[in-house]
Symmetry: C2
Subunit: 212 residues, 2 copies
């Protein structure tokens, strides 16, 4: 089990961030203001872009002690020695991923319902993503919205640390924390915001407030 | 330098082949009838599909002694222990690929012009693809067509084994062999043909005839 602080999990979208340079700046700013983990997710980009982007993000985040997680592409994670990887149900299965990355990198897995949550291999995966909790326009191939009631049920059933994802903004994070999730993941609530640093601090305040 | 017989290089397209099952059957049939190397190229597919497809192809090709090359996704090549990988100019650069795959897997690199050909790192790459030599509808983001005259110039300049690609069909392979290329790569000339075995034998006959 590789520990990871899921409190405020930024998922970067290069388009929403306004390109590579702005994306790296957004990641740095968020990490400086309380984001505890940063994931790069860019399904439309080619691998040469990925390598460049991941190297720049790692250089920005390593000095801040914030882990960089690579979505889907294990080869990129290995090439830049990222802290971990995150995969969905249609990506490489956890067993294949763990064999490629070894025991010491963080492995996250997306889940959308009770069946997927029950099927998570607990000896291979370090944390789960659970979503979409709210309607979202960021991920076009997202699963059906879970909603707060079912989310609370999933939180009672889970046996791994979890991060909620999907349409979470300032003002909608607190009920998820109250339901027992370790942290929340956001995309557009930070990427493309006029002041990503402020947006990060507001989200963090809401999360820590909901915990106390 | 890892040796690879480029004589007749099949690039699989799952859509043109009519799905995964037909694709595996096409690969087996082509390998039984003279294809010397098989590449899986499927930019639209998710990694879980890729893993399944690559495992099935490897199981079909290994007994025939025909190497399986994985396009773009080094993680898939590592997961199934494929014979090699092929990357384009927008994919991971050869140095990053070689570091991931080690010294013993085949590494191919696509080139489209004299500048790209001159920039190939000879100590890292085992063979080059050169194309598109003819107009092609298979690869939508293909570079400008090279044509026979410029292709012959590239063949005189090259210092690595090469395979021609792009719109090659039975009847248009011979001039490329005559220009000095080691082999030809085809997609639609085998994938989706009514009789892939026959199509393979006809192409092989043309190539070997042009060599003698």
């Amino acid at each position: 089990m590789n520990p990871v602080d899921l409190t405020l999990y930024l998922v970067l979208d290069p388009d929403l961030c306004g390109g590579l340079e702005n994306m790296v700046q957004t990641a740095r700013s968020a990490a400086q203001n309380g984001a505890t983990v940063v994931q790069l997710r860019a399904p439309d980009q080619k691998k040469r872009w990925w390598l460049d982007a991941a190297q720049q993000l790692k250089a920005a985040l390593d000095p801040l002690g914030v882990p960089l997680i690579i979505n889907d592409h294990i080869d990129i994670a290995l090439a830049v020695d990222a802290a971990g990887v995150h995969v969905g149900q249609s990506d490489l299965p956890p067993a294949a991923v763990r064999q490629l990355i070894g025991p010491h990198k963080i492995l996250g897995l997306s889940t959308s319902n009770a069946a997927q949550l029950a099927a998570v291999p607990l000896d291979l995966v370090d944390y789960i993503g659970v979503g979409p909790v709210y309607p979202t326009g960021t991920k076009l191939d997202a699963s059906p919205v879970i909603g707060l009631d079912e989310f609370a049920q999933l939180m009672r059933a889970k046996t791994l640390p979890a991060v909620a994802i999907g349409g979470i903004k300032h003002g909608t994070a607190a009920p998820l924390i109250a339901a027992g999730v370790e942290g929340v993941a956001v995309v557009s609530a930070i990427c493309g915001q006029a002041d990503p640093a402020l947006a990060t601090r507001q989200l963090l305040n809401e999360i820590t407030g909901a915990r106390s």
